[in-house]
């Protein structure tokens, strides 16, 4: 039981970073705590709600969330989630799951290979206009 608390704590950190911590809890619950996948998903779902709520409040305070443009995504997302969960009951998800897994792996590799932003974007003050600090010196010499 102690390990569940440790897992819940670590998952809380990761979940609030928006890096998919919930999935880590599902892995812990199924592999180490002996729950089946569906129960683990349910536990994770309930667990995620208060944690995400707290994280979202903190991130909003830190000006990392601009709600206005997100409204259409949330509204359409809710409709999509309901439709998705209905479809999920009628189709064989094996192929879909494999496609999604490959997609997740590709994004994962891309994310890991990411280089610093300032290495990618051209450095602005590298061009014709010299940085301000030099200008005075040129005038006097």
């Amino acid at each position: 039981m102690l390990w569940s608390y440790v897992a819940a704590f670590l998952t809380g950190i990761l979940a609030s970073l928006g890096v998919g911590g919930g999935m880590l809890l599902i892995i812990y619950l199924t592999v180490f705590a002996g729950f089946d996948q569906l129960s683990a998903q349910g536990i994770n779902l309930l667990y995620f709600l208060p944690i995400a709520l707290l994280a979202v409040i903190l991130h909003t305070k830190n000006h990392l969330i601009n709600w206005k443009p997100l409204v259409p995504a949330i509204l359409v997302g809710i409709v999509g989630a309901v439709i998705g969960s209905i479809i999920a009951k009628f189709i064989d998800k094996e192929i879909l799951r494999t496609v999604f897994a490959v997609f997740v792996l590709i994004i994962g590799v891309k994310e890991i290979l990411y280089k610093k932003e300032d290495e990618k974007t051209p450095v602005k003050h590298n061009t014709a206009i010299p940085p301000k600090t030099y200008r005075g010196k040129f005038k006097h010499s």
Partner: protein, 121 residues
């Protein structure tokens, strides 16, 4: 190179994909949300924070659907929540401070773990 901000339609499309993934697989919408929101012109940290803002209401809906479908044992989840909340307090501070590179490394590592597990099970 300034990324162009995308309009309402793009966000709606993001929502459709995120919702569909969440609905079909029970989770994983956030995985789709982060890169999609990044495409919309959000910074790396904004994308991660905003992915939670989108997946939170979706998960609330999923929770309702899930609990209608089967008996749900609340007592297994409740003791975990205080520990998770403590983690979230730290996460709130960490997201502000962490470098984009490390944030992406952690995200990428977890995605590879998740993708690998999905392929194997």
């Amino acid at each position: 190179m300034e990324k162009k901000k995308k309009g309402k339609l793009y966000y709606a499309l993001c929502g459709a994909v995120i919702g569909a993934v969440n609905g079909l697989f029970g989770s994983g919408g956030g995985v789709a949300a982060v890169p999609a929101l990044g495409h919309a012109g959000l910074t790396v940290k904004e994308s991660h924070a905003s992915s939670l803002a989108v997946t939170l209401p979706l998960s609330a809906v999923s929770m309702v659907v899930y609990s209608l479908g089967q008996d749900f044992n609340w007592s297994d989840a409740l003791p975990l929540i205080p520990f998770g909340l403590a983690g979230a307090l730290i996460g709130g501070l960490v997201l502000k401070k962490i470098s984009n590179v490390w944030l992406k490394r952690i995200f990428g590592g977890l995605l590879i773990l998740a993708g690998g597990r999905m392929l194997l099970t």
